[in-house]
Every structure is written in structure tokens, then in C-alpha cells.
Symmetry: none
Subunit: 421 residues, 2 copies
Amino acid sequence: VRVETVAVGTELLLGAHVNTNAAWLGERLAEHGIDVVAGTVIGDNVDRIAEALRIAAGRADAVVITGGLGPTQDDLTREALAALAGVDLVRDDALVEGLYARYAAAGRELPLRNLQQADVPAGATVLPNPNGSAPGLLLRHGGCDFYALPGVPAEMRAMFDVSVLPDLVARAGAGAIVSRTLHTIGLWESAVAELLGDLDAELGERRRTDRTTPTLAYLAGAGEVRVRITAKAADTATAQQAIEPVEAAARTLLGAAVFGIDGATIDGRIHELLRARAETVAVAESLTGGALGARLTDAAGASLTFRGGVLAYTVEAKTELLAVDPAVINESGIVSTATASAMAEGVCRRLAATWGLATTGVAGPDAHDGKEPGTVCIGLAGPSGTTARELRIVGDRSRVRAVTVVSALDLLRRRLEESGR
Amino acid sequence: VRVETVAVGTELLLGAHVNTNAAWLGERLAEHGIDVVAGTVIGDNVDRIAEALRIAAGRADAVVITGGLGPTQDDLTREALAALAGVDLVRDDALVEGLYARYAAAGRELPLRNLQQADVPAGATVLPNPNGSAPGLLLRHGGCDFYALPGVPAEMRAMFDVSVLPDLVARAGAGAIVSRTLHTIGLWESAVAELLGDLDAELGERRRTDRTTPTLAYLAGAGEVRVRITAKAADTATAQQAIEPVEAAARTLLGAAVFGIDGATIDGRIHELLRARAETVAVAESLTGGALGARLTDAAGASLTFRGGVLAYTVEAKTELLAVDPAVINESGIVSTATASAMAEGVCRRLAATWGLATTGVAGPDAHDGKEPGTVCIGLAGPSGTTARELRIVGDRSRVRAVTVVSALDLLRRRLEESGR
């Protein structure tokens, strides 16, 4: 069964709200092996909504509509469904009673306008809304099932799970989609695609005869590249079996760049590695200004492995708080592997941590101390000595800082994984 | 001119990413009085993308496509545009050269696959991308302008403002929507709506006879509430005139909670106030773990006013690096106004800053040191003495940290504004 989502609301087109309902529905349907072929957002206009539903019926077997079921003049989903099917709206007595009862219970008088929420296109089924006053609707027309749900996320979600999902799962018949995501740091998206190119091509070839052969997809963001392996099969176990050898092959090709699977975070991985060794980390930040520490304290329980840090944004802070030798800065420069190393060693000693991780660099947009924007040095001090790396990060100030954080964490992650072997 | 947005990416359909590009584009276009008639999300499939573009051309005069311009096999927007127009893809020599130069500058070899980013549908115009490797495209076909932009928000936004918006504004001709956004901190959304309730009702009344009367909208997020005043009129000047008295009335009703307008940031406001007085700030962070410093170094030029800080996640860091008297912690607790004050004073002295700003609290999900999650103390030390506030923040760990950062910055902002009068 192919599904399209249609979100109704001029507010969504104006950007006043982000269409999170579509993302939630997409995720929920994918979990159950149901394909979403398209998503549409359309304004509060009967003709445009009806036309969008007609288009949706052209590419999908079922359409999940969100929004436009409220009590105001702008709520036109009922009218659009009636127009699409060429039927009248009929006022439903049971719904009228329910509305009066609902308002009476709240000690309020029912505004007459709200009675439009009891109007149902002839032939449609009412879908109960346990959490609000707007009932949902199911209308079958032209070989397509139109499910209309309220736009309020909490109401929509509850109704979808009870009144829509079971229908769709039953129609989809047996079948499951299973995904496995490999998280990598240290390779560009294109390098990942290149490393996996032969595997991807081979899978494409095999898919011609075996539809359960997994597909690969690449997702890049802020220094991380994720590889998603997806398999469709008659059941979850078969899909999982199809994924396993592909995951193994991809891991071999990507090597140490893979730091985790399925929603893993690089900071989570570091806490895990440190906890297992009863070790700690402290940070010394210049261009990242606290973003590295913030990342390391994102998750609860960080206090077991994170000792704290120093935001050494100025030269004085580097020399005074981190005891960096001013001669090092004079000779090598503020943005240098020597300074990054000295900062890492300084904070490691200062906070009595096992590992010290330091960042210094030029976030931009202007050059600084003779270095171009995107020039970044990362230092790592630890039990087996100190190392440092110089990076050239492409992008604006915000990207340079974000990639610096991820790269610094990955330097520590790789060292912990190597020394743990 | 009627515009449709088409976002390309199976990821969006699967709900792995939320389509924030559509919301941003909708808001940007509305600001310029341009109607968005529909928004579509479509998967990575040449035929489906081409069909979605054909449908879009049926209801809009211009289509803004985001995504599908990257270097991988899944990036199919170029192919879909060529298929739609019935033309070939032609490799553009200048783009090839640019790609090689870009990779050479980063000291990397260009993966051959990336050359597809230099492919252009015959007859299309290349739109430069100053922040990334994927160029944009403009193709006119069947009376419709198709603008294809990368899906990476920062790249897309910069290109839209330079290469798309001026075109569309020119085509839109007469009619303008003007917005003014007031940014506030310190009031709940419901309190803002309550304070502005009478004004809002009065505007609604006036709008019945005068269509240029502005509307109010409230937007809340991470401790900030924004009030958007929007007026539609024949021209920009008339719309602006309609907004002015409403803005003045809203400012009077909201008082000191307003810290800026139209995209102002609380950190930007603080740097501005500090620069004007040639003063500086340093931070001492416990539960925020660096997020406060990261926020103060978001914008370029922060080094003039930000001295640095200490991430005092542990008790030892508080006593050793910030010289907090252990007796204060023993008597009052780690999460107390007394400790927050001592941290603020410590970092102020330590980094020779004019102002010291400190956070300590329980981010959650578990209670800590006998305090419930969401209990937060903020300390502010400065020339006229030290103050501290205790807050109860509702929400999960991430919200507690985010609201703490904003609240701490607002405490400093209000003090700077009061003492500047």
C-alpha cells in the first residue's frame, strides 16, 4: 500500500509552524513497512485542498490528511472531501450530542460555529477523537482511502495509531522494512559513497532478481556521515538477515570511521569507552567556546566521565588558567598544534583528568593571527603522551565550530578504541 | 507570482529529517508578500520527482526545489529536471574546474563521482553556491521557473536570498507584507498573549473595516517568546506605517521583556551592550557544561567582550578553579544561590572580567543533591555587587539547559540595560 500525507493549513505554508506531523507519520509508517510516496502541504482553500487530494489519489492508495477539522472558517477539510467525492455534508446527530456534552462537562456554552465539527461528507465514517472535539473521517473514493485527522499532534497521533495504522498494516499485508544505520566520522560523504560504491552497485544488480536485497543511503551533517542500510522483506527476521552481511561488508570497507549504529552519538560513545576504563576527560576550548563541553554534557550521567574544562578564549586565559608557556604561543602561534597540545596538557593536569582535549583555531569569517578561517588545531593529551592534528574545515563559522567539536571527539574516540584493543 | 516548494529526499518522507526548509522558505516568501500555494515532499526517484515538478507547474508560476543536488547516486534533481524538460545533461567545464579547485584548496582529491555536480540540464542557468560544492540551477520550462537549491539549510538560504528572492520579488510587483518581530525573554507565551489580549481584540475589530490593520502572532521556543506583527498593504511604506503604532503599543505592554527586534539574539544584544561600555563577561558553568560560553561565542567578534570561562562540572572544579569556599557548598548546597554567586564572583576575578555569570542546577532526569530536576540557580557578579536567582524550569534535560542559558543571558541583559539608563 502506498501512502501520501496531505497537511492542510496556510500557517504551514507561511512557515509559522513546521510540518512535524508529516515527519512523525513518515517514521511511523516506515516502521511498519509502509511506503510514503509523497507529502503535500496545501493552504486553507476548498478547491486547492480537493485538487491536492485528487493528485494524491493519483499516486497513492491511501491518503492521510492532517488539519482543517477545527471549528473556524479556515477549517475546510470536510468541505474539500465532500467536493472531491461530489457528495453533501450531513450533520451527524451523535456528533452534535457529543459536542454539547463535551462543552457542558467543561461548564461552557457551545459556540454555534463549532457545530460544523459535526458535519460529515455523505458516506464517510467517523473516526473517534478521544483527546479533542474534532472527529476524524474516513472516506473511500475512487479506489483511494482518505483518512482525515486533526492537525494537533497529540490528537492526530493517538487517532492514527488506533484508527488508521491497523487498517494500513492489514492492507499492506505481510511485509516489513528494517533499517540499520552506521554512524561515521572522519570521511567526507563523497568518500563514504566512493568506498561503498562497488558494494552499492553489486546490491543494485542483485536487487533485480532478489527484492529483499538491501539498499544504501548516505546522510551527511556537521562532520558526521551516516550510512543507512534498508531491507524490505516478508517479515522482520528475513529483512534483518538480509541486512547482516551488508552491514559486515560496509563495516570492513569503512573501517575505524564507524563509531556506532542506530542513533549512536559520538559523545555517548566516548562516555561509554571512558566508563568502561574508569577514566575521565577535561576540555580546553578556544574557538569552540564551550560547545565541546556542552556536547559532552548533553546526556545524563556525564559527571562520571567529564571533569570540566576551561574556555580559554583569550591568550591570557591560555597562559594563566591552562599554564601554556607563552613562548610556545609566541613561537608557534595561537592556532598551532603546539599550542593545542600545551592546552590539552594544561587542562589535563589542572582538572586531574585522564585525558585532556583542546581546540584552537579560526572559526571565521575573518582570518586571525595569520591563519585562514577553517584552520583548526586539536590537541589530545593522555596517559600515552600528547598528539595534535591540524584540520582545514570548509564552511561558515557555525559549521567550522560544529565540525571542530565532532573532530575533537573523534580523535579521542579513536585513541580510546585503539588503546583498548 | 504563485510559488510551490518541492523538497526532494526519501529521508524527509521517512521522517528522518523534518522539512525545515519549506517552513523557512514559506516565512521568507510571506515576508515579501509572495504566496506559497503548496509544498510537496517527494522521494529520490527520477520519475516521481519529474511528475511532482509537472504537478507543481500546474498550480504555481515558480517552483523552489530543495535537495537532490549532492554527489551521490541518490541525488537525482538534475536528472529529473532534464527529464521534465526533455533535454540532456551537459557537463559544465567551469563547474568541473571549480570542483577541482575546491578540493585542491582543502588538500583532497576529487572523487570522480562528484563530477556529476557539474552536470547541468541543457538550457539551465547555474546559480552559484558560495558555501558548498553543489551549484544551484534555474530552468525555465512550460511557463514556469524551476529553481533548484541544495538541501543543506545554510547553503540553501544564502543562495535563495541572492539568486531566487530578487527574481520573485520583481515578478510579484505591487503589494507588500511587512513584519516586525519583537523578541522577549522572561514571560511565558500565555502571559504574553494575556498582556496583548486587549490590543489583539482591538486590532481584530479594526481589521473588519481596514484591511491594512496588522495581525499579531505568538511564537515560543526555548525560553524566548516572539511576537510577530504583520501588515499587508499596497506598498511597503503603507504596511510599515500600519505597524509602527502597534509596535509601540506592544512594547509598552511588554516592558523590559523585549530585548530586540527582527532576528535579534540575546547574545548579540549582550555583546552590543558590553561593547558600548567597553566591558567584558566571563562564565562559570555547571549544568550548562559549556552551552553558555558556546552561545556567547556564536557570533564573530566575541573576543572583544567574552573573556572565557570555567566549566565547573565537579565540586573540586568549583573550589579549585573558581575558588568557591567549600563551606558555602557545604552549608547551602551545590545548587543554591549562594554557590551560584560564589561561582560568578570567582570567575569574574579569575578571568579579570567586568561581569561574571554562573549557572548551577539539576538538568535531570534525576534529582541531584536533594533538588528536583529543573531547579536552577544563576549568579551574576559585577561592579555593583552580586545577585542570584533561583528558577524552576519545566521540561526535559535539553530544555532545562537551553532555558538556563537564555535566562542567565537575560539576567545580565536586564542588569546592563538598567545600569545604562
